[in-house]
Amino acid sequence: MTAPTRRGFTPTPPDRPRVTGADGIILLVVVGLLALGIWAGEFAPAEVRGPQISLSINALPFYALHSVGRMAAAYALSLVFTLIYGYIAAYNPRAERVLMPLLDVLQSVPILSFLPVVLLSLTAILPEGIAVELASIVLIFTSQVWNMTFAWYQSLTTVPRELREASGIFRFTRWRRLTTLEVPFGALALIWNSMMSWAGGWFFLMAAEIFTLGARDFRLPGLGAYLQTAANEENLAAIGYGIATLIIVIVLLDQLVWRPLLVWADRFKLEMIESDNPPQSWFYDLLQRAALKDAVAGVFALPGRMFDALMDRLLPLPRNVGASANSSFGVGWLFLGGVAVAALTGVVLGGRLLLQVSLDQWIGIGMGVGATFLRVVAALMIALLWTVPLGVYIGTQPRAAAVLQPLVQIVASIPATALFPVLVLALLAAPGGLNIAAVLLMLLGTQWYLLFNVIAGAAAIPQDLRYTTDLLQLSGWQRWRTLILPALFPYLITGMITASGGAWNASIVAEYVVFGGQAYQSIGVGAQITSATADGDYPRLLAATLAMVITVVMINRLVWRRLYRLAENVYRME
């Protein structure tokens, strides 16, 4: 794998380090949505029994297919959402002012706290089977969509000015501009982020296919449910089969979908020079050779043109050439109205729920936030300790990279949640076992972001600077202090922002475990959320979720953004 470009890899956080009034409104909106779901959930059936999950190895292909289907549905939803949301945010400044901060907060919301709410409210209105299926798709969607939307929005707003003007002067309709300029320009970033999103989706799929809410037992046929059931029954062989199947699925997707896509999208690079080592894919080459390709293209030529003509009508000449030009249409007001209603609901319903939380419970949540914070810090520190040396090694030794990169990629794409049952099994007996397991799970889930960023950063250190340090005979620690660490700094920060967000999110799975039919729990805000879910204690669920959201957003704004700006200003390599 070639190291992803920074544009393609991680979206830059928007440049608003301070907490503003908009954040408050958005928090209210989030509270409102949660509260609304909880209210709807009261109409859900009181008892639910899911289908039996078979641990037979023959069932695995069936389960794998179901899981992939769920992922694909959620991904399709994410893609549509991304294209529309990002487009509106980029072209309507009034909507942008709400949409972008909203996205920022939404991606800090612990996804798993939403699951019971989504599930219950859906079962209230839909047949149970469909509701559970939909809920898992929505959950996966919320784990996939944010980084994609950021990437798309960012690429829309960074289309080179002259290309934009060319599309204006040559009278492109919005549709033509989208297909000729904007989508190709954003393609690489979208594909890289789609790959990341799929990895994130697997992580949550494992937790989303089986869910117990008091007397309600929701489960879906799928790999995640298989692994959970295997862990519950302490069936090590089944766990092994499950993980093996998962790895096979992930490798197949990589080889048959993502790699060919990357090779195909290499043409969309903006650089006017040919790349030294373009990505390779045997499957893509195979497709290229097939005679079928031309036949398919021939069949689709006419309908394609008719579709273009139709879309040209629907998305006609833009009034303005630039992104974020002033345009005014009612959607903005409609949207603002929706926000106002949601915020109001948040105040009323959320307030009522929060008033039911006792002082003791608040103290518990507060202590939980502290404990989880310590765990996140520990996980980040451990990740730093091993990813920096290894990442620098891979990033600076092309030969090592050729061998290790694909390996690391595959290992990284195994969702930590799949391994968690094994971890718990091994560690439960040890003193402080769950504590260690929780930190380990956070580590497993987030260390890869750091590693990939370190590799990218180390590979980007200019050769002449490395020569210079050789000539100056800087060695050991001095070399690290004067060259490597400063050069890595921006990449480390980017990686840590993503990693810390992921670690907070993982705490929900990590701090409270049901294993062999028994619940184990450590102190932490994640444990608060999960146990509140299990007990059906919605006021506490809302309070704990809110506490986590506020903490994560505050840490982002007050710590990471500042470090990020420092990195941008001082340690940028140009």
């Binding site: 002259e162 204006g168 040559f170 009278r171 309709t173 190709p184 903006l270 650089e271 006017m272 001082v570």
Partner: protein
């Protein structure tokens, strides 16, 4: 085609473009009155930042002016002008489309059926001499060839008004020269539908070589300061006496605006009146320029020759000359740069002596007087960069204010008027005696 008796194609009446609001309001161009007639090749010439590209975008309808009126064939222009196209400085080709698709897309967007568009694209590619490269991607082509694609694409839109936005400035010298000739051939050949050409340029020679009329602009705010007709017959000979005389004349117009000292220096930031912007010049380059002029026997040098000898582009040279004039090291007379005795002293001086001369000259400038006073007045004889920046943003648009502060910081640090701590972002006054 040097006649200018054709019907008026484009007419600008009292056009101005302003950005921002209130105190941060910034005028890019103002009081622009200009018409372009059928059969004319007009060049817009001026230093960078004079708003010539802004003007081009207003004429093509990409930007709407904040004041004034743009008419095309007598009708007010509303939105992008469908009869105009642009050849861009950076080519603005879609890297993911082949040469042929890049050209065809201009016609497809206007509703030309696919087969017809591709046939015409092949013709146009042939016309600009890229026969055989139809299926190549832009990144496989040299700069000159890419710009040919840009030209073919512009022609594909079948324009009446062809706009060229510094079309040759991203090319190497040889390709640029060849392409200039080819564009002129296309234009004078008259087989195309093009009624008029408007070219933005910062290259004086290029403008005289190609245009029938040169519209000279100056900055602060961007405005038209002269219109120079060029009546030399094509093909024009750069060595011809008339050509050289015209070159000197235009250089004189662009460089020789000597003004009384209070206008020349401007006022302090924050006070009434215009604050003189510091030209973006490097001190080492300034020293190099003065040494060069000083070493010529006559101690004066043709500016046009200087640009060639020093291999500097026009913008850079102009900033250097402006700085030299501002500090009293040189003055401009009829297209020549003449070094002053002070400039000679500076050129001959040692490093330390240069710093002293430089410092004493900077202290005369209102900009530096203001800066030093601001730093001194703050408690610890040090001042955050943002404070100065915020103050400057009252006189300059945000990006420009930052650039001004950067220039001031470089000059001031060279002269050792003050220091700057990058980590803390603070300007500070040096202690009187610094140890070792």
């Amino acid at each position: 085609m040097a006649t200018s008796t054709g019907a008026v194609l484009v007419e600008l009446r009292n056009v101005a473009q302003r950005y921002g609001r209130g105190e941060k309001r910034f005028t890019a161009i103002e009081h622009i009155n200009l018409s372009i007639r059928e059969g004319e090749f007009v060049a817009l010439l001026g230093p960078s930042g004079c708003g010539k590209s802004t003007l081009l975008r207003i004429i093509t309808g990409l930007n709407r002016p904040s004041e004034g009126e743009v008419r095309y064939r007598g009708k007010p222009l509303n939105g992008v002008n469908p009869y105009a196209t642009i050849v861009f400085q950076s080519f603005a080709l879609f890297p993911w489309l082949t040469v042929e698709a890049n050209v065809a897309v201009a016609m497809r967007a206007r509703g030309v059926p696919a087969e017809q568009a591709h046939a015409r694209a092949v013709e146009l590619i042939d016309l600009v001499g890229l026969d055989g490269f139809e299926q190549a991607y832009p990144r496989e082509l040299s700069g000159g060839m890419r710009q040919k694609v840009g030209i073919a694409r512009a022609l594909a839109a079948n324009p009446e008004l062809l706009c060229l936005d510094e079309p040759f400035s991203a090319l190497d010298v040889l390709s640029a020269e060849t392409l200039r000739g080819e564009v002129l051939e296309l234009w004078t050949g008259g087989q195309l539908q093009i009624r008029a050409v408007l070219m933005v340029s910062h290259n004086i020679e290029e403008a005289i070589f190609m245009a029938d009329r040169i519209v000279v602009m100056d900055k602060g705010p961007g405005r038209i300061i002269a219109e120079v007709p060029v009546t030399l017959p094509h093909p024009r000979d750069r060595k011809a006496e008339a050509f050289v005389a015209l070159t000197d004349r235009v250089y004189g117009i662009l460089m020789g605006q000597t003004q009384p000292e209070h206008v020349e220096f401007g006022t302090e930031p924050g006070q009434a009146g215009l604050t003189r912007a510091l030209p973006a010049a490097e001190v080492t380059e300034l020293a190099g320029l003065l040494e060069h002029v000083n070493s010529t026997p006559t101690e004066r040098d043709d500016i046009y020759q200087l640009a060639e000898d020093l291999g500097l582009d026009f913008n850079n040279l102009q900033a250097l000359i402006e700085t030299a004039e501002l500090l009293g090291f040189a003055r401009v007379e009829t297209g020549d740069l003449i070094i002053t005795p002070l400039g000679e002293t500076f050129a001959d001086a040692s490093i330390l002596a240069r710093k002293e001369i430089f410092a004493s000259r900077l202290r005369r400038l209102p900009f530096f007087r203001w800066m030093l006073r601001m730093i001194e007045a703050s408690g610890e004889r040090s001042l955050r960069r943002e404070v100065l920046l915020t103050a400057l943003e009252r006189d300059f648009p945000p990006g420009e204010a930052e650039q001004q502060l950067d220039i001031a910081s470089k000059w001031g640090r060279y002269a050792e008027l003050f220091g700057y701590d990058d980590a803390q972002g603070r300007f500070f006054l040096e202690e009187v005696a610094t140890p070792a």
